[in-house]
């Protein structure tokens, strides 16, 4: 068996390739002197556009690692960056599309901290306007209801 295989054996088959590698440019990039180039689809970390968030909590329910907490009353959106597994499940379920997956990894830290985003308070005028629109809508609904209730006179 040994003699049979000896005929197929070659010596220094890799020498050419090894020599070529010696004089080639390194296969690695010289990070951090050169910036890292991320592809477009890279799942690095989750970003939120808080102005559009309606605090519905769907992201919190879909997160497999339970890294997201949403407080509807306080209007806050909290993420534990070190618990997030970058699966983009929250991004997929968000009805307002205010969550996005951005390139670049979470920076290292000495502690696992929470990052909280607060829904920006609406200015007084906008709030008053929104309240008046709501009141008008409610009134209209009430009137429609009353209309439905009044029996038609014959």
């Amino acid at each position: 068996m040994e003699i049979e295989h000896m005929s197929k054996r070659k010596v220094l088959t890799f020498a050419g390739r090894a020599l070529k590698n010696l004089f080639q440019k390194p296969a690695t990039t010289s990070y951090p002197f050169e910036p890292a180039v991320y592809p477009e689809r890279m799942r690095g970390h989750v970003e939120i556009h808080m102005e559009d968030c309606i605090c519905c909590g769907l992201c919190m329910r879909s997160c497999p690692s339970q890294a997201i907490r949403v407080d509807r009353r306080a209007g806050t959106w909290t993420i534990r960056r070190f618990d997030c597994v970058q699966c983009s499940s929250c991004v997929n379920v968000c009805p307002k599309k205010c969550l996005t997956m951005e390139a670049g990894y979470t920076r290292p830290d000495t502690r696992k901290t929470d990052e909280t985003f607060i829904k920006p308070a609406q200015p007084e005028e906008a709030r008053a306007e929104a309240a008046s629109v709501k009141a008008e809508e409610a009134e209209q609904k009430q009137q429609e209801k009353q209309k439905d209730c009044i029996p038609e006179r014959i």
Binding site: H5, R17, E40, S62, P64
Partner: protein
């Protein structure tokens, strides 16, 4: 008769990629028996299926193992789809095959590198891993993740690939195939490699079947069995022939994996050529009710997925039997009669993945 002694091997050992412990019974330098023990990295991922809904669990199934990530997601999704009677769009099936075969290429290149490292052939190890980077870059480009891809979902896939991406994969495969030739020649013809692999750890075809070997370990012993022929995803539309070798030694296992690399290149090209246009997923309504056993061919061998649902959003049971679980008894068989110096190499030839095994 020489005096017997027991040498503990692992779970921490320079050559072991993952923690498995063996009690080696030695007579001088010859191994006469080996008692394996696992349980160092159990995480209870199967139990977690009761706490996460069946759609969320895809992400957990993918994280059972880094190297077989794509396959675990695919196996889990296919089994849930079978339970729910979901017909996945054709394009999604082809995309699954492309990513699965890319995953096989990266797994085999990783193994080849580890094998070269175990033999002390450092430049070959570096070359194998350099080539693997090209595939990982393609994964990064197409899925957004190098190792954990998160592309499979119940009902199809989450991401589509446009023609630029598909052409990019074709280019990468072409380059890779060209650069893989000298590496393959070195593994198969070099004196140093052959002297470490030829005739080491021979497993006959009969014993391989009796002991339940799977994947390249089984095919290297001459048995033509490949779970891709069972017809999941888009494999029925592609040409799959099991790659076999007859010697059953470590060299045969290396040969099978190298030939499978080239087979995967062909399959990727064929799948890209045949991929139809259309949707990539279908909406999923309701909850799974019923049970199903799914078998798929992972790079390391056949993996079995069992899913049982009772109409609730949480599954009742998920069971995963990984290729390494099946390959441990054949590994113990090959260790009997070998030299102590060959033990790391023989453990490596089954391509062990202990984090998969313990889940």
């Amino acid at each position: 008769m020489a005096k017997r002694s027991i040498v503990p091997f692992g779970p921490q050992h320079p050559v072991l990629p993952e923690p498995v412990h063996l009690d080696l019974v030695l007579e001088d330098e010859t191994v006469v028996g080996a008692v394996p023990s696992i349980g160092y990295i159990h995480r209870g991922l199967e139990k977690l299926v009761e706490k996460r809904d069946f759609k969320q669990y895809v992400y957990i199934a993918e994280r059972v193992c880094g190297i077989c990530s794509c396959g675990h997601g695919l196996g889990y999704c296919e089994s849930v789809e079978q339970v729910m009677g979901i017909e996945v769009p054709d394009r999604a099936k082809f995309l699954r095959v492309i990513w699965m075969e890319m995953s096989r290429v990266h797994s085999h290149l990783l193994w080849l590198g580890l094998l070269a490292d175990a033999m002390g052939f450092e430049s070959l190890f570096m070359e194998s891993w350099r080539l693997r980077e090209k595939i990982l870059d393609m994964f990064d480009e197409t899925t957004g993740g190098r190792i954990i891809h998160s592309v499979n979902c119940v009902g199809g896939v989450q991401k589509d690939m446009d023609s630029t991406m598909l052409n990019g994969i074709l280019e990468a495969v072409k380059d890779l195939e060209k650069e893989m030739r000298p590496v393959a020649d070195t593994f198969l013809e070099d004196y140093t490699v052959q002297s470490r692999l030829k005739g080491v750890g021979v497993l006959s075809r009969e014993r391989a079947i009796e002991l339940g070997a799977v994947g390249p370990m089984l095919r290297a012993s001459g048995e033509e069995y490949d779970a891709r022929l069972l017809g999941y995803a888009a494999y029925p539309n592609l040409t799959v022939e099991p790659v076999t070798s007859k010697d059953g030694d470590s060299y045969a296992r290396c040969e099978v994996r190298i030939k499978e690399l080239f087979q995967s290149f062909d399959l990727i090209r064929e799948a890209i050529g045949k991929i139809p246009e259309g949707d990539i997923s279908v909406p999923v309504k309701g909850n799974p009710s019923g049970e199903f056993f799914m078998r798929i061919e992972q790079p390391r061998g056949e993996a079995v997925y069992y899913v049982k649902g009772s109409g609730k959003k949480f599954l009742e049971r998920f069971r995963l039997r990984t290729p390494t679980t099946s390959n441990i008894p054949p590994m113990v068989e090959t260790l009997k009669g070998c030299q102590l110096a060959d033990v790391p190499l023989l453990i490596l030839t089954i391509d062990p993945c202990v984090s998969c095994t313990e889940r």
